[in-house]
Amino acid sequence: MIHARGLARTFRKKKQEVHAVVGVDLDVEAGEIVGFLGPNGAGKTTTLRMLTTLLEPTAGTATVAGCDLITDPVGVRRRIGYVSQSGSTAPEARAGEEVVDHARLYGMSTAEATERGKQLFRELDLDGLWERQPKTMSGGQRRRLDIAVGLIHIPELVFLDEPTTGLDPQARANLWQHISSLREQRGTTVFLTTHYLDEADALCDRILVIDHGAIVAEGTPDQLKSQVGGDVLTVTAADSAQMAGIARLMGMLPGAEAPQLVEDRVIGRVPHGGAALVELVRGLDREGLAVSGIESRRPSLDDVFLGLTGRSLRDAGAAEPAAEVAV
């Protein structure tokens, strides 16, 4: 569905070259839900804008939905849907009219567009909002309206740019369901960007991790997590003076890597969290080290990200926004 090789984009800003995307290779098969994960500034939006014909690549080639991105952008546009972060409807317009007008730009008749639009409104729980102005809708409703607009021409491939950013947890979970059902009910291929790990984890068959304008890892959420190796042990020290002692004990566990000290926590990785936990508790007890908390957990995608990029996705979220600004 998407095959890109060496896709790159360089911007010129005040005589300085900014390499927003340095060379992305990616393949997405029909019917997949693929997550494109990375912090702000990593090149997510730039890549997405290239794949949706909004931005011309400075290098590389790609076929999207069977059409060449460079030589047949109109063919690509006909076959894809794009739901951007910034929305798609005028706040003062009426929802239904925006949907129908959008469909007409794909050559659909008003009658056909109205029928299809109303059906999408039912599927996306937007019943009764056909005449409403988008400015009077809730954030979740507006996002679903954007999705209805993006799907009105029944695209085989849909791009969702940060679909749940700014939504409350309930609206997010609801939107995830709608996104999953796109594939289940119509076999739509979904390519979505996100900087939420739980979103990628819950929704995607496969994840591509982008950092500094290049793909640094790809695989299923489980494959990526198993790259981290083992489970994560976290011990919160009751007395920070004893952290070194706790770290020494944790480091002596079978197969353990050197633990890290983060604030009042000692964090280490071990192959088998359950067994290690028991041994660790015994050791702590023997040496009289006081702890206020202890846990063993499966690695999250955040751990994967930390391992791949040396940055936590949460911390990285705020940093380096410059290159991601829509251009």
């Binding site: 804008r49 949706t52 014909t53 909004l54 931005l55 011309e56 952008p73 109109v74 546009r77 006909r78 894809i80 849907g81 794009y82 951007s84 972060q85 910034s86 929305g87 798609s88 409807t89 005028a90 706040p91 003062e92 317009a93 009219e97 007008d101 959008h102 007409r104 730009l105 794909y106 050559g107 954007d146 607009v149 993006g150 021409h153 251009v327």
Partner: protein, 252 residues
């Protein structure tokens, strides 16, 4: 071609519908030309002897029409910035719709609005004392439709480039005031001292205004009228080309 027309119609109908639904916009845009005529026109009546041939309204109404065509159209970009921010422009650009249609449909809406305003302005002036040949009025409305299309395209292109009201507003103000003062729109430049006339001679809009004033007194075959018409066509072609170029470019 068929797609271009259909897409243009879709974009035009959408823009028109949204304009008509905004009652405040409707009242303000119709009141403005009337205010000019009713509150400023009478000031010129006692001066009409010094202003040249025809009565005060034959001089004043064409000027106000041109002003409407240029400066009304220049401000349409603000609406586009709002649409851009709402994501509408980008969502239209991922459709297979013709890029030209995305501009043309909006410009057509502006031209229709302009023609309605212009016609209203002429009608309101008649009871106040405007006497002008029908053909001259029609030719003038054609001129302002062309000018309006050109300046609306320029406005949209600049808005799409700047994408911010804060950058767009000062740019417009820097342009509008000197051009307005040097175009003889409010008072004919024949009243000006020599140096000021010379400066205003390089302003094509001055010649456009003078041309439409000729139309209003029936001087269709004068060189002033021809110059005005020719410059209008040149401005229309340039403005339109500038707008289309910007809209066709990728990565906007």
């Amino acid at each position: 071609m068929h797609t271009l027309l259909r897409d243009t119609w879709t974009v035009f109908a959408r823009a028109m519908r949204m304009s008509l639904r905004n009652p405040a916009w409707l009242v303000i845009s119709l009141m403005q030309p009337i205010l000019y005529i009713v509150l400023f026109g009478p000031l010129l009546e006692p001066l009409s002897g010094q202003l040249g041939p025809g009565n005060a309204y034959q001089i004043f109404v064409p000027g106000i029409l041109v002003q409407l065509g240029i400066f009304g159209a220049l401000f349409v970009g603000f609406g586009l910035i709002a649409e851009y921010r709402a994501g509408v422009i980008e969502s239209q650009r991922v459709t297979p719709a013709s890029r030209t249609a995305l501009l043309l449909g909006r410009v057509l809406r502006d031209v229709v609005v302009l023609l309605v305003q212009g016609t209203l302005l002429v009608l309101v002036s008649i009871p106040l004392g405007l006497r002008a040949p029908f053909l001259g009025v029609v030719l003038t409305l054609i001129v302002i439709a062309l000018l309006g299309a050109a300046f609306a395209s320029v406005s949209y292109a600049l808005a799409l480039t700047l994408k911010s009201e804060d950058a767009f507003a000062p740019l417009l103000n820097a342009f509008v005031l000197p051009v307005l003062l040097l175009s003889g729109i409010l008072l004919p430049m024949t009243l000006a001292p020599g140096w000021l006339q010379t400066v205003s001679d390089v302003n094509p809009l001055k010649h456009v205004v003078e041309g439409t004033r000729e139309f209003f007194v029936g001087g269709y075959d004068t060189s002033t009228a021809w110059w005005g018409a020719a410059l209008t066509v040149v401005l229309a072609v340039l403005g339109w080309a500038f707008g289309v170029r910007r809209f066709r470019r990728e990565s906007s």
